[in-house]
């Protein structure tokens, strides 16, 4: 005898279609025009910032930079669903979420400009810094959620990972722990279809990345990652459940990486230009702007004003970044141990003695 012992399905949520038409019930937060406008404003600011950061890199004023172009809805959707006291464990390109939480653009620039002080940001002080080793942050988020659970706090942890990152062991380990321990957290897989040059079909044979949570026994949803209303609605629901003790959610946000992987990458080497052109039709700013216009909340004049305001804010951030002098060489030795061991003190003196001797040359 054979019988079906378990069955699963993955739901996909879209609130606004690419034309900005409402295709689901309007989520509660979206009834408040101020919320909608702040989300749209931040998405626009993120994009303005992104263009500027790429220019800074191209002109030698910034190191390698990971663009967030095309991810604005996913990132702002996540950030706006979180509370300050929640804990964010990002990867490396979620500026929209971080700016919402209070990280400054000048701090983003400092990080990619090769200065640790970017990680000492003014967003929530308990948030984790950027995380370059793929998937390792998922375990930190699980640990953070465990801390909240053990202390009986109504706080959640949120972590973000890419489609490529879902191939790493650490991702599955974190999912499994979150399921086994009913951790108050949300995993967001930002599926932008590419992991540098590797397309999704070489990462996995699964139909969705959302379903990767099924084997861990956690709730799984997929959302249109270019639809900021869908991302925020699904995130709010996931976090409300987590706070209510109902455990973790894995949310897959389907979007597209409109930029090169980073400024060190040249995507034309591996990705057809038609694919990118098509993806632009679904880009996230377009549909929310159309929706706002259809509701009489937005017009060309406001758009123009916003773009000018964003440019000014970004310019001010760039100025602040460029005016931040390099740390002294002794800073290398600060914060290594709670108390500096003697051996380090000796090395510190050597480093100071040789400061500017052009190591490496």
């Amino acid at each position: 005898m054979k019988k079906t012992v378990a069955e699963y399905r993955i739901e996909h949520l879209q609130v606004l279609d690419p034309q900005g038409e409402l295709v689901s019930d309007l989520p509660d937060f979206a009834r408040d025009p101020e919320q909608l406008l702040s989300m749209y404003r931040l998405m626009t600011l993120t994009r303005t910032f992104d263009t500027k950061a790429i220019n800074l890199q191209r002109t030698g004023k910034l190191g390698t930079y990971a663009s967030s172009l095309g991810h604005e809805a996913a990132h702002v959707g996540i950030g706006s669903a979180m509370r300050d006291e929640d804990i964010f464990a990002p990867m490396y390109r979620e500026y929209g979420a971080q700016l919402w939480r209070g990280v400054k653009m000048s701090e983003v620039l400092l990080y990619w400009g090769g200065d640790e002080r970017g990680n000492d940001f003014s967003g929530p002080r308990h948030d984790f810094p950027w995380c370059v080793p793929i998937a390792t942050q998922c375990l930190h988020a699980a640990g953070a959620a465990m801390a909240c659970k053990l202390r009986g706090e109504k706080r959640c942890a949120v972590t973000v990972i890419g489609d490529g990152g879902t191939s790493e062991g650490a991702f599955y380990e974190a999912l499994n722990l979150a399921g086994a321990q009913r951790l108050p957290m949300m995993f967001v897989v930002v599926n932008n279809k590419w992991a540098i040059s590797v397309p999704l079909h070489l990462q996995t044979a699964a139909e969705t990345l959302a379903q990767k949570g099924i084997a861990a026994g956690i709730r799984c949803v997929q959302v249109d990652g270019n639809d900021v209303l869908a991302v925020r609605a699904a995130s709010e629901e996931a976090l409300a459940r987590a706070r209510a003790g109902e455990g973790a959610t894995l949310m897959e946000a389907v979007t597209y990486r409109l930029s090169d992987h980073t400024t060190a990458d040249d995507a034309t080497r591996y990705r057809p230009k038609e694919e990118v052109e098509e993806a632009w039709e679904f880009e996230p700013l377009l549909r929310i702007r159309k929706y706002l216009q259809s509701q009489g909340m937005w017009d060309e004049q406001r758009e123009e004003d916003l773009l000018r305001e964003c440019a000014n804010k970004v310019d001010a951030a760039v100025e602040e970044y460029l005016n931040t002098a390099r740390m002294p060489v002794s800073a290398m030795f600060d914060h290594m141990y709670d108390e500096m061991p003697e051996s380090l003190q000796e090395q510190r003196e050597i480093a100071i003695r040789y400061e500017g001797s052009g190591g490496g040359h």
Binding site: G169, I196, S197, V198, Q203, Y354, G359
Partner: protein, 325 residues
Amino acid sequence: MPRITLIEGVTMALAHELEKDDRVVVLGEDVGVNGGVFRATAGLQQRFGAERVMDTPLAESMIAGMSVGMAAQGMRPVPEIQFMGFIYPAVDQMISHAGRLRHRTRGRLQCPMVLRAPYGGGIHAPEHHSESTEAMFAHMPGVRVVIPSSPTRAYGLLLASIRCPDPVVFLEPKRIYRLAKQEVEDNGEALPLDVCYILREGTDATIVTWGAMTHETMKAANELDQKGISCEVIDLATISPIDFDTILESVEKTGRLIIVHEAPNNCGVGAEVAATVAEKGIYDLKAPIRRVTGYDTVMPLFRLEMEYLPSVRRIADAVVETLED
């Protein structure tokens, strides 16, 4: 003969072995269509197909572990880890399996794989892209660690590593990937994996170094030469196991030893060189051994990274101080 860079030496060796030996498979993240983020595998997938030059899912433990499996079954996998900073999930496979397989099966199974990774600082890269942790692998019994410092040695040592029946961690100093060109003939001639290279003969002091630091060290040696100080510079090249004979012979002649490396000082490979010279050559030494190394700090982000890397002046001063002792 083509004039090629260090990274082209890597590509040439990979192509040579892919052509000659159908057991060889190159695999890793972005090594296929993209040709590797540094272009080390450029053109190889087009030439040899997606089964010989394979884009894998993004998982380093998997990359190393599947390579152990392939190698044990008679293939010659050459996995690439995109940056040394992401090699750590692979460490488990290297120490728990690659280095032990032959020993624990009493020779029944072997693990002829070459785990390649670019390493080291100085290219203005983001966080986790600039460390030098070769000592970690040198500490693994049964694993060879090889670091080329020139196009010729990249080609010859990689050929040798691929043909070697032992697992090899092949670390490529990315700061000098494109620094200098040499004429290298694609003749399939491997270099030995058990000798170090005397880059420059001298009589007053021996400087042992490897990887990108060979360049600063050679500059320091040339500057010292102007001042009448004659340095012998040795490129360790095979970090584990080490050819101590060449080093001991040199120290016997010069009586002075300076070790230069980019990695942190504490338990660096320099400590092993110093300890062995102390054990076997202490009566030849006229002065204490000196080490010029990276500091025992986290590798700083790039605004400070050049302050971290040993400079020509630090190396030259260390030689002068050793001579004054």
